[in-house]
Symmetry: C2
């Protein structure tokens, strides 16, 4: 019954905010702030995914290295091993993954190309739609 | 069918990491990092909730004010109007609230006292349990 990543991307769009690994922590904070997002996908030559840098990484950098970290490149602080999903991944699978591995953002990759990103809030939003749909179906069933 | 805040708190505990409004942004980042959490509840005299300060607030402070913000008190950057819930609030209600208002953390208040905190990840985790339970019930029904 669970919705697919494809359906979510078709509704919310496939644009992904990306940047290069040389971006500084201070610049990354600006990108996150201006786009009102919690994660940036870091890409290398040819647009290949090379990492993910999140708001939690900003906090951890400040906590561990203080103000000096702000001028450092994010490449040294990002998560390089990025867990991706496919368009046929379901919201139930994403919920499980996000809970177990403590990810809040999962880039979508199809045929080696970045084709979108799903956040924990996207999953919750779609889960609400499913609940509403189920409730309508039960009502229709009761109404005969 | 949706689980209550009370049930979640009974399983995960009622401790809330709090701090005073004079805490600096740099200190707050350390508290977030050490506790592996995304939000601190800011309390005033008598433990009354006076605000909430999140990892997104750290990013926004750095984005807007650069390194100078790190020594500033969080009181000037926190969200002072904190949306709270009760122990009988349900996960469905929280999902709706978190999506519409873009909150990821909701402190729980009973009789004017802080009695816990629920994050978006807590809600998703409990939603998985509900899905598993439903699946078991359907299986049992089919098995006769
Ligand atoms: N009302 C709504 O439509 C939505 C509300 N929310 C709420 O907003 C708050 C924050 O959401 P979170 O999911 O934790 O994270 P977030 O702030 O990173 O995500 C917000 C939106 O931005 C998108 N996004 C994130 N990174 C992106 C990137 N690099 N490129 C392009 N798009 C990107 C996400 O897919 C999501 O739709 C939560 O309280 C959540 O419940 C989240 C998504 C949709
Ligand atoms: N495997 C698990 O049991 C859990 C996994 N997660 C995952 O971890 C990642 C981050 O979780 P989020 O919910 O976004 O935020 P978060 O990192 O703030 O929450 C993590 C845990 O800390 C608790 N918490 C947050 N602030 C607190 C405070 N001030 N005092 C006491 N406890 C506090 C939350 O209730 C939650 O149980 C997500 O990917 C999520 O799916 C989240 C909760 C439980």
């Amino acid at each position: 019954m669970s919705v697919s990543v494809k359906a979510i991307l078709e509704a919310k769009g496939r644009d992904v905010v990306t940047t290069g690994g040389n971006t500084t922590v201070a610049e990354a904070a600006k990108i996150l702030n201006e786009n009102r997002i919690g994660a940036i996908v870091v890409v290398g030559p040819g647009g290949k995914i090379s990492g993910i840098f999140t708001e939690r990484d900003v906090v951890n950098a400040v906590a561990k290295h203080g103000q000096e970290c702000l001028d450092k490149p994010i490449a040294s602080m990002m998560t390089a091993k990025v867990h991706r999903c496919k368009e046929d991944t379901t919201t139930d699978e994403l919920m499980e993954l996000m809970t177990m591995r403590r990810f809040r953002h999962v880039p979508v990759e199809e045929k080696g190309k970045l084709s979108g990103i799903i956040s924990i809030g996207d999953v919750v939003k779609w889960r609400i739609r499913e609940i509403e749909l189920e409730a309508e179906q039960i009502k229709a069933y009761i109404a005969g």
